[in-house]
Symmetry: C2
DNA sequence: CAGAATGACTTAAGCGCTTCAGAAAGTCCA
DNA sequence: TGGACTTTCTGAAGCGCTTAAGTCATTCTG
């Protein structure tokens, strides 16, 4: 390498080498129709010879005021977040949808206090932000507003000016509860995703859980409890356990505790498939048969629900569609469009083998 | 909002409002010791009043020539990549390790031809690139070199000038094979991760598989085959199936085919726990008992290995450590340090219930 | 009390690129 | 043959910020 320590070449160097103006070199990269094919070739050849790797992305961003990145904000750490296939499926669909525009995803994982630190959001190089199931009161959302970044929220309450996509959490939860009621169950346990901003875990009162800052958690809980209440089962009779995080271990621990309550619930309503799988593993450990001794129903219908033993009864939502819609919303806002009416993907019950008569 | 359509305020606006120079406002944000606490307060107050959200990240990047982002390059799409817990664990550890520096992760997923498109890499706004198990010949690596970006590679062959961390793939695979040989097995099947750059899947000859451009795949395969050869089992007697992607479905399909070969293998060497879990599901579907009819061993020792039914015998590597080391390498290169000797995390056999006597 | 040291700001030169409004030269057609 | 276009390229004004070097009072020293 001749130039290990030499300054990296810039557009000007290439321009000088070819003997044209800087604008022409820029055009060679960005608007091939603005110069003759022949000159363009010459420019590109000179660039290659000088080891010029193309326009500096940062400088380009400053000049165009577009970064080409989408900030994706998560409530939790990466491993916690990515343990949930629901997220990865949604995220992948989103990434695929925005792919043609060449946008990259800038991950902003959550910190100590839930959600990405405000500071990170303020300094993130992105054209738009996507919030995935953040707590209502997270400072990250304020930072987004302060910067005037366009925002798409997924599974969250509507933020003024933002676009939104979500699923019918409450309706889905209601379907799950209804299903179990129809099978004759009367003693229920609920395995809840994180309820509070601070990671905690453990037994919760229904009131406390319903005050969760997490929209989806709150809505699903409402769907469960309202439906049970409609069948004469008071919220106070339902055991609610919060699982800290999404890991199998945590889910198993909470489910174990739940299944050791007296009287033991005969049915478990789980706020995600991940939690449901953990619950089934816990049941197995306790020597309980699913669905013989206890019925389990999940939420999301991620692929693993189909291959678990027994296969999991769950609430299906089209995660791929949700991600795709989110991606389209991103593109729309990026194009300067107004946020449309909030979109909502439908849910339905997928009956498999993890639920049975009481 | 008073200024819905007004130009966003800049550092100059704040400076004007307070009646100081632009440099002073900049210092208020970046070097509080350069001005009196009192003036700083005044500046910050004026900024808030004007709705100035702090220095524009892109402009700051241009001036400092640092973006604060780490480009993370993947071979496959996000959902494919993130189906493997090994990745998420590594990535999370990496993110945590670089967290104090305030670096964000810019995800560059793989495209059609494996690895992120060269163009994306050239235009990515990042200070450093991390390559995770990319094919040796991917253009992405050339783009990184062309830009002169520092590079950390994970589970890949050493690239000149790059830092590297990996695990003893070959040794680990050898342990797995040795274990099964010791249990008396003689008929082996290998469930391989993607071998070729193009997604394909299906039965492969050992030679073809050994020519894989994926370093870890190649090494693990070598570890398996060399060990078996040492026990007098020729590569040609071993059934090698490539699984396209990391999904359970794909793993099940390949394992099903593998388990229907005649004579049926009594032991399956799987290149990841994900694949092994799929294999066990496939065996169950075929009515085969694990480990009664067929032994299965995985690789990685991800959390699910512990909770599967039966619990999975596997090769443990410390993924968290690997990610942490990668993070430290990133920080080191970012600080201008030279890449140290390649690091390698150790592996060992974790014996659980999925393997038994032939 | 002169001269050095300190503190608090400002000046101005970039960082590397995009893009709009021309200029120069060539092409077309009646 | 000459005005109206086209095509091809250039000039120059930003984009919004950082930072080394410099200015000007003040405050210390001995």
């Amino acid at each position: 390498m001749t130039s290990t320590r030499r300054r990296r070449p810039t557009l000007d160097d290439v321009a000088d080498a070819v003997g044209v103006s800087r604008a022409t070199v820029s055009n060679a990269y960005n608007r091939p129709d603005q110069l003759s094919a022949q000159l363009r070739d010459e420019v590109l050849r000179a660039a290659k010879k000088l080891g010029y790797p193309g326009p500096n992305p940062t400088a380009r961003s400053l000049a165009t005021s577009r970064t080409g990145a989408i900030a994706f904000m998560l409530d939790a750490s990466l491993s916690a977040a990515f343990s949930d296939p629901a997220l990865t499926i949604t995220l992948d669909a989103l990434a695929t949808a925005v792919e043609p525009g060449g946008h990259a995803l800038l991950l902003l994982p959550g910190g100590e206090h839930g959600g990405p630190p405000a500071e990170r959001v303020l300094t993130a190089q992105a054209d738009i932000a996507v919030a995935y199931s953040l707590a209502d009161d997270t400072p990250a959302l304020e930072s987004v507003a302060a910067r005037g970044l366009p925002l798409v929220v997924i599974d969250q309450p509507l933020v003024p000016g933002a676009a939104r996509v979500g699923c019918d959490d409450r309706g889905g939860a209601a379907l799950a509860a209804r299903h179990l009621l129809d099978l004759g169950h009367r003693r229920f346990g609920i395995l809840s995703a994180q309820c509070l901003s601070a990671v905690r875990g453990g037994r919760m009162t229904a009131e406390a859980a319903l005050a969760s800052p997490f929209h989806d958690t709150r809505e699903r809980l409402r769907g469960y409890l309202d439906t049970l209440a409609g069948a004469g089962i008071a919220a106070s009779e339902v055991a609610v356990w919060e699982v800290p995080g999404m890991s199998t271990e945590a889910a198993m621990a909470a489910a174990s505790a739940l299944l050791r309550e007296t009287p033991r619930p005969t049915a478990l309503l789980c706020m995600s498939d991940q939690l449901a799988l953990g619950a089934m593993a816990a049941a197995r450990q306790l020597g309980l048969d699913v669905p013989g001794d206890v019925s389990v129903v999940g939420f999301d219908d991620t692929p693993s629900a189909r291959w678990s033993e027994p296969a999991l009864t769950t609430i299906r939502q089209d995660l791929g569609l949700k991600g795709r819609i989110a991606g389209e919303l991103v593109l729309r806002l990026l194009a300067g469009g107004e946020p449309p009416e909030p979109a909502r993907v439908t849910v339905d019950l997928v009956q498999r083998e993890s639920t049975g008569r009481a």
